[in-house]
Symmetry: C2
Subunit: 473 residues, 2 copies
């Protein structure tokens, strides 16, 4: 493709995206495709001759778009927000256009240094402790960030090598029933094994991890010869945005000499607002590592997770390998960061550009306004639900997620759960909005996560109307 062709087609794509965002509210939020529909619409074999670009946008509209669920729709309330904004899209476009590999400082210094700078900017914005400055890196996802934290913690804990008595001790990871599933996956990946993932009790009401039970488990496991490697506390769980008591958990970790990772994938970015700075409690004193996702609630498109280390040495010891073909003077000098040693893959996109573009465009002020709009709408929705005796809303909704359930007067719990799931499926199938669900204490709850930049008060009110229609019929 010549530069002139790129100019022509590129501008068509820009217009296509702008048109898409302008028209998105008129589309059904959830795709109505059945399994196999998109596959069937696509040619079975690749073209022998190039087809040019002219037909691509038409094929996209005709064959692909019917299978797309619109995550940027103002009435998309499923899972957590995954915002794709103009400045972020353009930052990512610049990254694709430059096409540099940022695996090492030497392979394109700006890719490393801009990343160091925007990680520090984000630490500034969130008022994170000083120990994290200069120690942040972009990961593709919170899953990978937690895996890197676990690998670092395992290294610190001795890596499961046989002790002086020759006994190979099993290593243990501590989570709660509310911790994200990626932690159990990380334990499997890292060879810790699901059987060595210890599940700490939660408070039945707040769903927060119980530090006393953590203490008891750590004591019990150490006595049995296990090597406790890491505790993962969560600020804003995926299911209900529950908040683990990080200071109390941190105190227990310190006493037992165990690595504390704090996973604030969704909620951590709320700390751009001073009134949300409480999410950082305990980080300065206790956290060995911390992660949060600008690609969820901070207007940056996937993938962009930030992981900070209090001390980068255990991570570098766990993950560094330097083959001859990557040796270079800058690495040898020790004066530079090579981010390949901060992650699982070797290759790296220049992802810092999109975060730079987002922070420049919105400024601290714009980012705060975005968080406040989402959490304010969530408060308003929760109040509406609480005022209706046919529903029960979880009283704790500190961020942009509201969890609630229709009480279905007269139905058993199983019947009520089935009725709620049916209503959820009808709502999503209608295309008017998209919700997801969770299950707490045996009850299915609807999850309504608010946070798209296009979501306004009217979308919340319309959603609540539709929910009531389908759950009181």
């Amino acid at each position: 493709m010549t530069p002139d062709e790129f100019r022509r087609y590129g501008k068509q794509v820009i217009d296509w995206i702008a048109d898409y965002h302008e028209s998105i509210a008129s589309r059904p939020v959830m795709s109505r495709a059945e399994p196999g529909d998109v596959l069937a619409a696509l040619p079975e074999h690749p073209p022998e001759k190039g087809e040019g670009f002219d037909g691509l946008l038409a094929a996209l509209d005709r064959d692909i778009m019917p299978g797309v669920t619109h995550w940027q729709h103002p009435s998309f309330f499923g899972y957590f927000p995954s915002n794709s904004t103009g400045p972020s899209i353009l930052g990512d476009l610049l990254s694709s256009g430059l096409g540099v590999q940022g695996m090492m400082w030497a392979t394109s210094p700006a890719a490393t240094e801009l990343e160091t700078r925007v990680a520090d900017w984000t630490a500034d914005l969130l008022d994170l402790p000083a120990k994290f400055r200069g120690n942040g890196a972009i990961q593709d996802s919170a899953s990978s960030a937690c895996l890197v934290a676990l690998l670092s913690a395992l290294h610190q804990a001795g890596g499961g090598a046989p002790g002086p008595d020759g006994i190979d001790r099993r290593r243990t990871l501590y989570i709660s029933s509310q911790t994200h599933s990626s932690l159990e996956k990380a334990a499997r990946v890292a060879g810790v094994g699901s059987a060595n993932v210890r599940v700490v009790d939660v408070d039945p009401v707040t769903l927060a991890m119980d530090p006393a039970h953590l203490d008891a488990l750590l004591t019990e496991d150490a006595a049995a010869g296990a090597v406790p490697a890491m505790v993962c506390a969560t600020v804003g769980t995926t299911s209900t945005t529950a908040v683990d008591p990080v200071p109390a958990i941190g105190e227990v970790c310190r006493r037992h000499g165990v690595w504390l990772h704090v996973d604030a994938a969704y909620a951590g970015v709320a700390a751009v607002c001073p009134e949300f700075r409480w999410v950082n409690e305990g980080l300065a004193e206790y956290a060995s590592s911390y992660s949060t996702n600008p690609h969820k609630w901070m207007l940056t498109n996937f993938d962009c997770t930030l992981l900070w280390m209090a001390d980068r040495a255990p991570m570098l010891n766990a993950l560094s390998i330097l083959p001859e073909y990557l040796r270079n003077n800058a690495t040898t000098s020790g004066d530079v960061i090579d981010y390949r040693d901060w992650q699982i893959p070797l290759g790296r996109r220049f992802r810092a550009l999109k975060l730079w573009s987002v922070i420049r465009w919105y400024g601290a002020e714009g980012l705060r306004e975005h968080i406040r709009t989402g959490s304010g709408l969530a408060d308003e929705l929760a109040a509406l639900i609480a005022a209706d005796p046919r529903y029960e809303v979880r009283p704790d909704h500190p961020f942009g997620l509201v969890c609630f359930r229709p009480l279905w007067d007269g139905l058993t719990t199983d019947e009520a759960n089935a009725a709620t799931m049916d209503a959820l499926n009808r709502l999503n199938a209608s295309g008017d909005l998209l919700l997801s669900h969770t299950k707490i204490g045996g009850h299915v709850l609807l999850r309504m996560a608010i946070g798209a930049p296009s979501t306004e008060r009217r979308h919340i009110l319309a959603a609540w109307d539709r929910i009531r229609e389908e759950t009181t019929a």
Copy 2:
């Protein structure tokens, strides 16, 4: 950013990228930035108020670009090519614009089904065995693909759980000294440990893995109680594009019941050309998994590695976890693929769009032409070097990489190595071209990897002139 602002700024960015590619040949290939230069140019703190987009491209040109090494430069010959082409950039732009999460079929069916289709298209283009059809997925990198293969193999091998005798057997991985460093990293990540990575001998001339030594190691380890989990054979090693004898290695693996992963990160895509189909030898009969990177030599920007499984069950058993908040009817039905279970992270970009766009634009014909141009130029360069008695060129250069060294008449090996490294540093510092290096049999070799779509014969000739200038002074 409103859609109208996005149209305006988006078109500026498209023009910026087109201008960049038009002017790239006039830039020094390697950045001249010193450590800290880019950091110092960037504001220390994030802006309080949004700065808009107008200043961003100016700041990019002023503060960031001096720190960029130009991987798309026609005289970039370092590492391996990492091509960023128009259709790929635009496919990725569409992915950013849509901003959908493809973690499960249910979260945006088209993201899954287009990926299944383009993985099959690629298998078609490369004439891969039928067992891989429907079993391919995009990974971020070859490192991650090899880790997923290893985790699947470990699961298949029994996961290191204690056997009936209660003995916890160590699991072993087999590579050669020429295998990519990501395999040792994968062993560390997966808890196999560097100590259980067994290094198989290579032929001192071809650098290909010795199947007889592999056989001996497997026999020895099994006798010692270890559980051999995986053998990784490489087609086109990173150092010199050596090719392991996959059929002979596969025969050994079959006899020992061990998983064979074939890593063809760089060279596998050459099979778009019938004359390169020999790179697939042994895959049909022996390979449990196979990976190659369209983001290296197939005109698709990073990240885009394809991983195929002969049988997806071990991978799914190793990596699937389904928490309540991700349950959905499509997943429960078993009728769909959920690619989150084919990788380490949970979240996924809609990466299939860029591969779709690339294959449509070039067609099989265009992709073949690209491979033939690169390998043809490499042959021509190797012939030039071979004709000059002051140099030694590795006789095997089956793809686009040529490895060679100045003989430095009269110098000891150490002195010659130092002189070669000095010449390499001078060449790279000149900005005229970029080479990397490796070390084989105690000798430093220069690596010249040809494969950027903008690289023409004249760039090769100019590079050879400059190399001779710096190595015969």
